[in-house]
Symmetry: D3
Subunit: 239 residues, 6 copies
Amino acid sequence: MTSPLSVENRRKLHAVSTATLTTVLFKRGLRNVFLQGPRRLNPGRTMVGEAFTLRYIPAREDIDRMEVFRDPEHPQRKGIESCPAGHVMVIDARGDASAASAGAILIARLMMRGAAGIVTDGGFRDSPEAATLDFPVYHVRPSAPTNLIHHHAADLQVPIACGRVPVYPGDIVVGDDEGVVVIPAHLADEVAEEAHEMTVYEDFVTERVLAGHTIVGLYPPTDQSNLAAFAAWRAERGR
Amino acid sequence: MTSPLSVENRRKLHAVSTATLTTVLFKRGLRNVFLQGPRRLNPGRTMVGEAFTLRYIPAREDIDRMEVFRDPEHPQRKGIESCPAGHVMVIDARGDASAASAGAILIARLMMRGAAGIVTDGGFRDSPEAATLDFPVYHVRPSAPTNLIHHHAADLQVPIACGRVPVYPGDIVVGDDEGVVVIPAHLADEVAEEAHEMTVYEDFVTERVLAGHTIVGLYPPTDQSNLAAFAAWRAERGR
Amino acid sequence: MTSPLSVENRRKLHAVSTATLTTVLFKRGLRNVFLQGPRRLNPGRTMVGEAFTLRYIPAREDIDRMEVFRDPEHPQRKGIESCPAGHVMVIDARGDASAASAGAILIARLMMRGAAGIVTDGGFRDSPEAATLDFPVYHVRPSAPTNLIHHHAADLQVPIACGRVPVYPGDIVVGDDEGVVVIPAHLADEVAEEAHEMTVYEDFVTERVLAGHTIVGLYPPTDQSNLAAFAAWRAERGR
Amino acid sequence: MTSPLSVENRRKLHAVSTATLTTVLFKRGLRNVFLQGPRRLNPGRTMVGEAFTLRYIPAREDIDRMEVFRDPEHPQRKGIESCPAGHVMVIDARGDASAASAGAILIARLMMRGAAGIVTDGGFRDSPEAATLDFPVYHVRPSAPTNLIHHHAADLQVPIACGRVPVYPGDIVVGDDEGVVVIPAHLADEVAEEAHEMTVYEDFVTERVLAGHTIVGLYPPTDQSNLAAFAAWRAERGR
Amino acid sequence: MTSPLSVENRRKLHAVSTATLTTVLFKRGLRNVFLQGPRRLNPGRTMVGEAFTLRYIPAREDIDRMEVFRDPEHPQRKGIESCPAGHVMVIDARGDASAASAGAILIARLMMRGAAGIVTDGGFRDSPEAATLDFPVYHVRPSAPTNLIHHHAADLQVPIACGRVPVYPGDIVVGDDEGVVVIPAHLADEVAEEAHEMTVYEDFVTERVLAGHTIVGLYPPTDQSNLAAFAAWRAERGR
Amino acid sequence: MTSPLSVENRRKLHAVSTATLTTVLFKRGLRNVFLQGPRRLNPGRTMVGEAFTLRYIPAREDIDRMEVFRDPEHPQRKGIESCPAGHVMVIDARGDASAASAGAILIARLMMRGAAGIVTDGGFRDSPEAATLDFPVYHVRPSAPTNLIHHHAADLQVPIACGRVPVYPGDIVVGDDEGVVVIPAHLADEVAEEAHEMTVYEDFVTERVLAGHTIVGLYPPTDQSNLAAFAAWRAERGR
């Protein structure tokens, strides 16, 4: 599997915000890219990786019994053991946090296998333990009830909904302390580059604003003198 | 594809209510079988048929454009043209009725092809026209916006959620003027039989109650004299 | 049990709307008297009667089994068999219509026993049959799943919430094709009288408006000439 | 005030569906034009007219007292008496149907003054009476509580939200038995024309489908022979 | 009142997670034991105690006036002064956090009286102050409005709903930083013991997983060698 | 613009809680003064200031394009540059946090211009950065998507809804770590004074309760001896 993202651009994505990414994608006509609901359990380093998807449907009492986890081919367990390093496991839990999408043991295993993070539009259990891991975890709210009470793992690596956003396997998933954005794979490189440029300018703007400058003419830069000042500022910092 | 249901039991299911079916399934430990949300657009004859599933995820602006419907392999269009006679098309619209799951033309085509009905946990457009068809249609509420605005047809014949209930291809879907129940395929015959028996008894009870009889001892029949009376009543009517 | 309502005022309440009652109660500082959610299953004659309350809590699997209905002291069954004639059974279902509050057989029994109506902020099952009864029935939406799946009948005749409104046993419950209003018992007589008066005036206003009259000065009657015209109109009709 | 719509195109809009209009607007990049929530209280003739807006905010107990309606300048009452003939009153009730947006007397007055209809994303009171008027009325659900309990009429003829859709004064509001669509004024004529053309084709498609024709190649018309058949069909009918 | 729980098992419950408890209860057929909504205001030590229940219904303006708190028999105030030491006050606020269930002064009094904690499915006021108490407090969100605005304390020690879960007086309520679980009294001892055993095994699993071990065969332990390793691990630690 | 609030009373409001303010306003018949939803992004010093309002309606794709921000008269940008020092910007986002109400750059500019705080019933973007500012910020949840995706800034300084509460320009907005209360301008002084008095008494009560005193007779003070003790306590502390 080749990545839709160059090493350089992956690095750039680690240094831009999800807010900036929504603007860059909006300019390309994409309005629905930020997961509605999931938030970072354990604020920290940015998450960037290809989407590896897991789909849940509602549980059925005669199918979803404790015994199913004894089967290594059970999609939830198989997903944890097969998600490639550098990828983000994204779970379609139908926005249902009334039972857990997974718990701290599975999340720890995913971390140990080198995944880049895990996201659900439901909730994780053992959330206090999961919060202590150095691993990006996003969910809607803590949910102690064991997975099988309301979820059935249906399949892996199909297009899904998560937080009301479409997620295709291989899309680039970026998460910061604000939330999670999904970038269509074919746009990943150009979005990373434009977001990087925008971030440099916004750092300049922030510095100006905190020094007392008006936003008029500066944000957006309708006044040419601001663009000149920016060019100088940027050159000075070698960005 | 052989049906999980005998001809005789299919006939029986046409004459029982969804309410009775939930009781029969509850006795087998199944609590989540009635679709929450979808209601009958056009009250009328009972719907019985195997589930034929269609799954939607949220639309993405660069993928879901008007042109996609020109492709006969588009899952929504292909589903309409391939759903077997006697089956019920069940759509997982993620409970989202803000754009249409389908419209009157597709529903009419499905009817003409011999399907048994159509169900979504979203909404249909052209609902006033669809309501005039002699064909069971269930949705949550009318929804004029064209499908592509919020939905992307992802695949056919996979297990789905509809109205927060799991639906597997081939399950038996029964609908009356109250709503829709999904019967796991492997239970279809026994459930049909037990529901039929229960219906006969409840017809007897209703007649008694409307004649002024107390429900105590009658419903449920804890008083043996009621069972004797029922036996006589049933014999008399040849049921 | 003596009624908080005179025979004459009970008659008056049968001829006023729930809309008018909310205005009369608002003038007395009561803003939360209209049940939010429940609607009439079977439009028809007005419902007026004292509240007889039944309270549900969520079901628990080890307690709420089919066998409980064999006990004539089960609060749901006991309520049906003990609700006084002329009273309205009001059920606190916590706004949860995912399982039935009751079904057509129990509703028919309640009707035969002379009750004035039944109201839940959940849903009833067998709703197509219940809709054929000449008996006022209010619920939020049809709900086929058998009661025990999500409800446990906890007790009778305690103060409850229904449709986010407080209901005390003995309050006067009035329902029309718009919905249900609860009148505190101690206000029932005065509210009935004022609502009757207001209704006569509004009938006059409606007639005027449909004849092309402006509402300015008429509704409310800030122009004295309208009050004079009303007096004449009323005298003429002997109201 | 000159209309954004020619007489001919107003006529055409009376004969197209809201579903078709959403498709025509989607082709122009407008995805959010169908009011989410409001439904027709009294199915019947199509509604077409310019938007005349009324905005509510939540009530405040010390301001919103019964006396306010004595003031003919109160925005709700003034709106009813000043909405131009042929216009549709559209009310922003913040999606709150817990108290009435208006009642049957005001609606009757609006009808008598020649308005084209009334729409709220809340609820109307006296809804059984309002339903008997030969006048298009759209709301979310019946709501008996008097307006002042939760609403304060803030102003007239400002841009508003209704059913989560932006509505600007003068936009063209079209309603059928499915719901309500808002057409930006500057697009009204071209949308009417295209929707008319699309409707003729869809009538042809419907006739074909009900005669047993597949939708493949017909809907959309990717097969040229269907376009030829359509041309003949149309010529024959003089449409 | 004798406790359903031995001293030893109460100690065990202090050292297991709510997540583990849901699994143990699920094995006994109980699926709805975790309160949906309430979260810990002030993360810290585990809460274990018998349920002492308080039930609210919606307020009524003529009953729920400031003066009611002058009555020491008012159920809210009486509950605070009579909840036994070691018990958890559990409030049924109908999931309504728009007005406070209680405030920091009452919570402090409950703490001083030796209660084990307080839980509501609404919100508490003075939440910043309450968060500083060394006392387990669970609510849905902060809610400044004074209790009487939307709540009426109806009664004490009746079965209630809290967070959509049934709670009977005397049930064992356990809370950790993830949320709250309710254990039916008659199951308390056996659940405590099984949860303790499960916790020891999961601690072993976590250690293994963080050391790089696969979950296959380990979680659940389908591979006998893992059980042998566990036995050795446990013996070594004297657990 | 003269303030409705004396300097002394503004100081007092900085030292009372929003909980206490709701009680003082409830005594005056005002029940709906606490914003439902918005919470403090960055706990810290109290916010007090006059309301400066900004109203959003839903975005329309042909109007709300990136270019609009180039116009210094755009209401959002103009509001940021014209909100008076000491005022609180309050945004009516219709409770919609699916796109941002504003971001960290605009919030920083508002802070630099001397405003007292910013509140929305939607969400802010760049929330991690905004949380680092020494400036009171209230929103419902983080929201990365750029403003124009779902919002259109319609106007400034009109009465609005925020968190389901009416907010008039010039009302006094008070925020603490619990949330935000709106005080009608004409009541600001008397409410500040009464809240101050109540706070002194509650500090006394808290001290007593934490020393083991019962709340009976103390809270509220129905026992005269408590009032005497309070008088002594207060005198001692010079409050």
